[in-house]
Amino acid sequence: MALHTETPSRASGPQPEQAQDRRGALIQTEALASLLAAIVGERGVLARPSELSAYSSDGLPGYRLRPRLAVFPHTTQQLVDVVRLLARKQCPFVARGAGTGLSAGALARGDAVVVGLNRLNRIISIDPLNRLAVVEPGAVNVTLSRAAGAYGLHYAPDPSSQTACTIGGNVAENSGGPHCLKYGVTLNHVVALKVILPSGEITTLGNADGEAEGYDLLGAFVGSEGCFGIALEVTVRLTPNPQGVRTLLADFTSIDAGARATSAIIAAGILPAALEMMDGPTIRAVEASIYAAGYPADASAVLLIELDGMDEGLDADVQRVEAHCLAAGARTVRIAANEEERTRLWQGRKKAFGAMGRIAPDLVVQDAVIPRTRLPDVLREIAAIAELRQIQVCNVFHAGDGNLHPNIGYDSRNPDESRRVGLAMRDIMQACIDAGGTITGEHGVGLDKLEYMPKIFSPESLAAQCALRDAFDPERRANPGKVVPVHSCREWVGA
């Protein structure tokens, strides 16, 4: 993997704001460390470069940036005190949950302090009557669903990383997941947030006790990638566990057929809880892993389709889905016989990204979304690009939403291969944009997709986004240099 420190490793395109304005340099690092330690204790601050390395990347380790310091509050009050201290010292900071982000969003350049939220992981309360839960930002996604399970409820957004990622990170990225096809993404499940603004002020967005009124600042904060402040407390909606669930595995001898089946099911107006696709190389990586799910190893693609709801009526939908799959050329359509088999099928899907580590030492992943009728075309195009650039693409993605995840495995020690991968990434992104798509559906822009932002937004539109950010963080100290490439923004009239 590439060995960049300090500057993010991007082949070209707009660089994020560099650390040229090292505002935080107003205070010596050692002095800052001891002020922070006074709040969180000696063991809550990391200052040695050797210990900061672990915080120099997230789930996309092709990027490395070593932060200035890392601080780990144990209580909300400590977090508040830390943010206020950083405000007084005008020091930039970057919130970090579990560091599973896939856009290099939680990376902090050398003048910024990482604020680790993983120790703030309490589930504060669950209100089963109104199906609400209040959690600290560092609570791990799946622990909330486990806790809610006692009431027959769960937290619906289920990113594949749900056993590791935090609710705070989910809020920041507006994360999705397989079941978001039917149930909606994080945005649709967060009802209120208590946030601390970079200035140190605490404010509540949204309304947990009724309808929200005024500007939808909650909606603006969800998906703001840590640039608007830090979520201190998250109130989410819980979803009742469905009465019945049917999980289908359809296997195809071509990706094209799988894509056609997907388009047909969606166009027919069936709304599965989830509709996921995996291609042949992905299937084989999963089957070689500890999470082997029993996918047919010789298939070119499988669709993992889940239907849920009331028992009555479910089987009629299952039959329709099955018919669409068979009509598109499925070899077999299998229905999970029990909960154990269902879990296994899902584990394989959810751990697929990780399993690709066995294919090649380095891995990059994209996250474009395209209109669902365009799936067959665009997948064909991606295959052609892979062929042209002589690289291997593994596709595992949220097909029902048209949210592609082409994964490319390679070896960064091979400069020529690295170059070809870079070119292929750009070709693929362009193909998705040309198909009417967007550059990221759930992973966020972070550093990784900055260069593509001007391809889908005009300078005015980018400037408008910056203007929104400035309303929350006029000093731009929260997660500086991410999301919007400021160089391609137009001067904003109101600013």
Binding site: A220, S224, C227, T438, I439, P474
Partner: protein, 375 residues
Amino acid sequence: MGGRVSTVRVQERVREHVARGAPVRIVGRGGWLDGGRPVDDFEPLSLADDRAIVEYVAGDLTLTARAGTTLSDIAAATGAEGQWLALDPFGSRNGTLGATIATGSAGPLAHAFGTPRDTVLGLEVVTGGGEIVRAGGRVVKNVAGFDLTRLFTGAWGTLAVITEATVRLRARPERDETVALLVPADGALGDWLARLRILPFTPLALEMVNSPLSATLGLEPAALLLARLGGNDDAVRAQRQLLGALGDMRDVPASVWSTLATAEPNGASVARVSAPPSRLHAIWPVLSRIDAGSLAHATVGRGVVRSICAPSDDGNGQRWLAAIGTCEGTHIFERLPARAWRTIPCRVDDPISRAVRTAFDPARILNRGILGEVA
């Protein structure tokens, strides 16, 4: 990007107003201009003629239309494909897409499908500074950049003029049937609502109406629960069975929903009181019986009661306001006599909202005063 003639025309108008410092009132089809606080001192900027479906690929279940397109235009186009835009705000179906999004309006279907913030995928707007800005996109999932789509949705036109929107569509359910159940007496209401909330399915809509409103709808004059059931044959049959166990049930024509949407008399005052759904049984008895003639309905799953006070001179407005005041919860006013607004707190005077307003409408020319903001 943003080069459409009609958009550029809006941009020119806005810029010209900025130059003059002259406020504009953004107007769709003008059906709900008394919604929100009074806007004084304005010249209208009408979008009614900018009425076209720009892109509709049925297989994608998304649709892009100009702001002046009416909900019934969209219903006609999508209905032909067995799809719908699952938004049914109160008022006439001639309301425009732009206004529905700008005001964040939703109706009974919000029970299952949420409000415009859950449905809008992308917007083209002209900001109060006269910039053409695109937010979001045309695909169903999108986290590229900061979410201006959510910001402009429900902002009542105070940040930008919406010129075009892309929305998510749904397939129409195979069956779409409506039944009515008698709402039990106050004492039994809490338990009954609790049982409703834990039904193992989500009806398309679940709306309680008070007895005067039932009468207006041409139903028996009693408090009723209207349940709109959707799904395939098996599902709807089972749903009926489960609901039937909760009380005396009868079929109701589907037209009841459009009648409900336009049930409120002209010039009425309208308020919504919302609270956690588990408290609905405490609010409902108060708001459903303020006056012999006051109308009320409640979206059960969301815990929202909408209370309607017909205009009259006998001081009922005061009684009505007082009754609402006694209800614990969030109070949102849709329409009020001009005088009454002065007592209602403004929800956009916090520092972030003020900064947002300044950033997007620095000259404060768009729908000035509609949210009660102080200039």
